[in-house]
Symmetry: C2
Subunit: 292 residues, 2 copies
């Protein structure tokens, strides 16, 4: 009889952690959500979850974490959350803490790389060998798949921090504590809120800030296309819950191609995620299968 | 006895074509240069070169061409130079013309992808699995290697056409006929010439335009780093003959990282090509080995 493997998944987000247990991403036997507070308290509750759910029979645990992460094999800080602006979380050895407490094989990658894995296997990028998964939320990040594999170079991509031209009429200084007006500084949920003084989800769809948002995200898409030539770009995250953004982004993207090499139809190229909020935890379970 | 293969290489550039014949990139038996005029005349002279050099014993021919190229397998225009601004060369079936005339297996890729192949095998990126080769010449292009393979997505990358923030004091409209002030429009050799009304190589190294050039190229490097996290970026092409650009670019790059995820030492990360002007034709010979 073929052994049935049991996997644990942890999606480590800036607002909450999601933990799950199951024989596969589509067969979960337990799941819980934990608010993100301090590393000690939050990781402690993750450990409690697995200990109360027969961790001894788990074959491996996958972590899909916010970053930046040190993912250089052989580095003394491999598996650490490094220079995050999130208070209290700089230099947190998230992988090591879970390995020490749970004594199981651990695999770790960024939340967006895990989401890209999941969308590639079960979601909006099935059968594609070259695609990009963006999350446009409080911050901006992306997972990139080239030649069928998640891209890891010297470190993981940090697509949210590319520089794009700002609108000449946009006087907002930018919300990125490191770069000011990089992509994340101009177009993240935090930037939207900083610019208009209100949560993005409270704004009506005809607020002029959405035109600016669509323009900035289209600049990100065009730069991503010209850099990588992906077959599809998936836009997820809280900001993209505003459905009207999709056609506006496609129109701005078409204009920015300017008749040079581009993509049509853009309805197919600029896509919504198929897994919604589950992409991260599904990706974490897929990482677990690699660890064990 | 092991058969010795004979390869042909064609580097198709906007100013000249280079043809070569040999048992490998480091063992050439013949080589010639042909000025780029019309497709009929130029390709005709390439055919003449191979016919006068025992083409019947050639096992395969590799073409490293200026672009954009159609590289989608199965496309009816596979191997065509497509929407180039170069007069007379739009929609030129360069691969098909050589295949028909010479009746040999043909492989084709962009000049920058071929140069990246060559620098990865023999040059400044030996043993690296993730790197980028930029050429900063009349135009700007890049070849990208991820996970040890040249990146081909839906099409080939067009890194010269990413949008970057322009300097607020830069009043030059940009030299790209499609996008105006994209990277190529702001920082190519043609842009330098358009901005100051003189060939870049005639300008003294203390001309203020070099500071602007370093800034724009640093923006390209930072965007490339945040998008791909490569282990090294090689900067080739005519504009980079100005050696003083390298330290200036590194300084601007360091400032743009802004204390966030970055790279040190930049002396190692931002590198000169090792093969100089030979990268394209060496890469073409490497493509030939794949074709045959």
């Amino acid at each position: 009889m073929r052994k049935e493997y049991l996997y644990g998944g942890v999606e480590a987000g800036g607002t909450k952690f999601v933990c799950a247990l199951g024989t596969g991403p589509d067969a979960l036997s337990a799941r819980c959500e934990i608010p993100t507070t301090t590393p000690d308290e939050t990781v402690g509750r993750v450990v409690d979850f697995f200990r109360s759910h027969a961790v001894e029979s788990v074959d491996g645990i996958g972590i899909a974490s916010f970053g930046p992460l040190d993912l250089s094999p052989g580095s003394t800080t491999y598996g650490f959350i490094t220079s995050t602006p999130k208070p209290g979380w700089q230099n947190t050895d998230i992988a090591g803490r879970l390995r020490t407490a749970l004594k199981k094989p651990i695999a770790i990658d960024t939340d967006v790389n895990a989401a890209a894995l999941a969308e590639g296997e079960y979601g909006a990028a099935r059968d594609l060998r070259n695609f990009v998964y963006y999350t446009i939320g409080t911050g901006i990040g992306a997972g990139i798949v080239t030649n069928g594999r998640v891209l890891h170079g010297r470190s993981h991509p940090e697509c949210g921090h590319i520089r794009i031209p700002r609108d000449p009429l946009d006087t907002f200084a930018g919300a990125c504590p490191f770069h000011g007006d990089c992509l994340e500084g101009l177009a993240s949920g935090a930037a939207l809120q900083g610019r208009v003084g209100e949560l993005a989800q409270r704004l009506s769809s005809d607020h002029p800030v959405w035109r600016l948002e669509a323009r900035y995200l289209a600049l990100a898409l065009v730069n991503t296309f010209y850099m990588l030539a992906p077959e599809r770009i998936i836009l997820g995250g809280g900001v993209m819950q505003r459905a009207a953004l999709f056609p506006a982004i496609r129109n701005e993207t078409r204009a920015l191609f300017g008749g040079y090499v581009g993509v049509e139809p853009l309805e197919d190229f600029v896509a919504s995620p198929a897994l919604g909020n589950d992409a991260g935890i599904v990706g974490a379970m897929m990482l677990a299968a690699k660890a064990s």
